[in-house]
């Protein structure tokens, strides 16, 4: 494939001094990832990232579920910007694709319809007495990681290479719809040839696997998964992606978006339970990593410190391939040494296996 198209989609990314906005989902499901981001940026790369305890959810999930009205979310977002201003930052970075989409959408809305920005200012002032200045630079945290990928590569101790074969690991990436499908120009590589994760994978020695449903939605869909009866549709989308990637035998999936990482991981357990199908090797699922976990691993972080025991698809096969040393007995122990609980595994090795979806390759 002649792949240089991503180069048409570039954006400016600030080098340092970031105001950090967290993700609701990640704080609950992958808290290690956000911690890893801060550690990598601050400790490994020496960047200044401000993790403000005052900031809140962007309310994007509520917004996309028709619970939070547009005016409300605009006010909430304006407050985040005001907090950033008050903290003395101008580069706003978001740890969540939904939030990134929201921030991008609202900034564009304000640009197209200045009167809405004015109203938001009034609302914010009435509600909190704060005023705001729009960020000078808005980026997703993966953009930052992409931006510094070569710096990370320099400090890399465990490249994305199978230590047994010396071959690059085969990695499937999923950028999340709201990263570039709403505003393709705001995502590196656009929506058709996303490069933000691919760039990291390539920089760190892995091989990006292109597969037919690469651009398909993970099925998150907000209302679709929030209503239990509709979840079958949500799972069906993940399943479609998994079926499509399975023939390429990826070593792991790396996700950009909190929801995608959660679903591609957890729906594998659901599908295994409901249909007795898994998509990885040896009756196991395909490990799903966040890009911070991927970065943490290549930089030699302890997988349990990265929170990888929270995954429903076991990551050990991947760790073994990468030659990561880990303590199996410490997997489900917290920093205080206490048992933290254990997710059901996405394994169907006690069940009969249906043949994998095999297309004519």
């Amino acid at each position: 494939m002649k792949r240089s198209n991503w180069e048409e989609y570039q954006k400016s990314i600030a080098d340092d001094k970031y105001y950090y906005a967290r993700s609701c989902i990640r704080q609950n499901f992958f808290p290690g990832s956000e911690k890893a981001f801060l550690d990598i940026m601050q400790r490994d790369l020496g960047k200044e990232v401000f993790d403000d305890p005052l900031h809140t959810s962007c309310t994007g999930i509520g917004y996309h579920s028709d619970i939070v009205p547009l005016e409300t979310i605009m006010t909430v977002v304006a407050r985040q910007f005001a907090l950033m201003n008050e903290a003395g930052y101008e580069n706003f970075i978001s740890s969540c694709i939904t939030s990134f989409g929201i921030y991008t959408e609202l900034l564009s809305t304000w640009e197209e319809f200045p009167e809405t920005e004015e109203r938001t200012r009034e609302n914010l002032y009435k509600a909190t007495g704060r005023e705001f200045v729009k960020p000078k630079n808005l980026a997703h945290t993966s953009d930052i990681m992409f931006h510094h990928r070569h710096a990370i590569a320099e400090r890399m101790t465990r490249p994305l290479i199978n230590v047994n074969t010396g071959e690059p690991l085969r990695v499937v990436e999923h950028i999340g719809c709201h990263y570039a499908k709403i505003f393709p120009k705001k995502g590196i590589g656009g929506s058709e040839f996303p490069y933000v994760l691919a760039g990291m994978i390539e920089a760190w020695g892995g091989e990006v696997v292109d597969y037919p449903e690469r651009r398909h939605c993970c099925g998150f869909g907000f209302r679709n998964y929030l209503v239990q009866a509709n979840r079958g549709y949500s799972v069906a989308n993940s399943q479609k992606k998994l079926e499509s990637m399975a023939p390429y035998k990826p070593d792991f999936i790396v996700c950009n978006c909190p929801g995608c990482a959660m679903f591609l991981d957890k729906w594998q357990y659901t599908v295994a339970e409901m249909e007795g199908i898994t998509y990885g090797r040896g009756g196991r699922g395909i490990p799903v990593l966040t890009y911070e976990e991927m970065a943490g691993l290549v930089l030699g972080y302890d997988p349990w410190k990265l929170g990888m025991q929270m995954h429903q698809v076991d990551v050990e096969p991947l760790l073994d391939k990468m030659g990561v040393e880990y303590d199996p007995s410490a997997k489900y122990l917290g920093p205080n040494g206490k048992y933290i609980g254990k997710p059901e595994p996405a394994i169907v090795n006690h069940r009969s296996q249906r043949n994998l979806y095999s297309i004519k390759l």
Binding site: M1, K2, F193, K360
Partner: protein, 340 residues
């Protein structure tokens, strides 16, 4: 009459046909061609619908006649401005004349703009023009040199598509798609050919019959629905998605080769030429005639004529016919201005 000079812009089949007629009627035509050879788009084609006549059988006799009549031809020459009595060439040279004929043809749509089809990105995505070239070279092969077993042909790439500013129908792609499907089946009877179409527009004599032949005699599958995207599979194969609108269901399949039937668009220099001549362009970027009925080969300005696909997508037969008509009109015009 002999000193009456007609500048013909473009040496495709329209320009050549017109030049021959003008010369035979006593005028002195000069063909100004941007490319290093005469023949235009047709010279790159393999065979022509609906009779599967080799394109060479149309181009070669015209070229031969041009040579026999000693018609003046300026190759590698670009026109930058026109007026009824004068044509400006690339380096500002002026060419005096008594009438100007636009036979500048059209531009094939750049399939790369429809990025989702992967032209220029995936190996086995070709345009209809690429396929003609492959057929001229004698065989249709995938990038890895193997014979394709399943080929999808997508109609309306760069036609009837607001998203790429091509509202108009390019008219001849449908029949080209059917023709190419038949050629592919003749070359490779075991291959499966799927044509994805929005409407099938078989406007000319024998076209509908050809469409039916493709369906019945060659088992070409016609699926009504536009391909939404092409994605890569291993070994250069592609997965395509469309809606089979006749069943109301999404459809997906893998193919070895995807052929894009690219449409025609107005040349980029139509606008500067029109501006220099003081004439207007049609909304779709083609030249438009003074009116579509009685003066359909004349521009809004006296002394500037047009023929062929510079004024709208056309078949080769129609183009030749227009060139003849325009020549006739030019002769009348020259005679009148002579008397005046």
């Amino acid at each position: 009459m002999t000193e009456k000079r007609v500048a013909i812009i473009g040496g495709g089949v329209a320009g050549m046909q017109m030049a021959i007629h003008l010369k035979e009627r006593g005028a002195n035509p000069v063909i100004i061609e941007r490319e290093p050879t005469l023949g235009g788009k047709v010279a790159g084609w393999y065979v022509l619908f609906p009779t599967f006549t080799p394109a060479e059988q149309v181009v070669a006799p015209l070229k031969q006649r041009i040579a026999e009549l000693g018609i003046e031809v300026m190759l590698d020459t670009t026109v930058t401005a026109i007026a009824p009595t004068c044509v400006t060439l690339q380096h500002g040279q002026l060419l005096r004349c008594d009438a100007v004929a636009l036979c500048s043809g059209s531009t094939l749509f750049d399939a790369r703009i429809k990025e989702e089809y992967g032209y220029g990105i995936y190996d086995n995505v070709y345009t209809s023009a690429d396929l003609e070239q492959m057929m001229r070279e004698g065989e249709v092969r995938m990038a890895n040199g193997e014979r394709p077993e399943r080929i999808a042909i997508l109609h309306c790439v760069g036609s009837r598509d607001e998203k790429v500013c091509q509202r108009h129908c390019s008219k001849v792609c449908c029949v080209t798609g059917v023709k190419q499907a038949i050629e592919l089946k003749r070359m490779m009877p075991q291959a499966e050919v799927f044509n994805f179409y929005m409407d099938i527009r078989m406007f000319g004599p024998g076209y509908e019959e050809m469409y039916r032949e493709a369906q019945v005699a060659h088992n070409v599958h016609f699926v009504r629905g536009r391909i939404s995207e092409a994605s890569p599979l291993s070994e250069g194969r592609l997965q395509i998605k469309a809606e089979d609108t006749l069943t109301g269901r999404p459809l997906r399949m893998s193919v070895d080769m995807l052929v894009l039937l690219i449409g025609m668009r107005g040349n980029d220099d139509n606008l500067p030429l029109a501006t220099s001549a003081g004439i207007t362009l049609a909304e779709n970027g083609f030249f438009h005639p003074r009116n579509h009925f009685l003066d359909n080969v004349e521009s809004e300005r006296k002394g500037i004529f047009m023929a062929g696909t510079c004024s709208s997508p056309k078949s080769i037969g129609e183009t030749l016919c227009e060139a003849t008509t325009a020549a006739e009109r030019i002769i009348n015009y020259l005679n009148r201005s002579n008397k005046a």
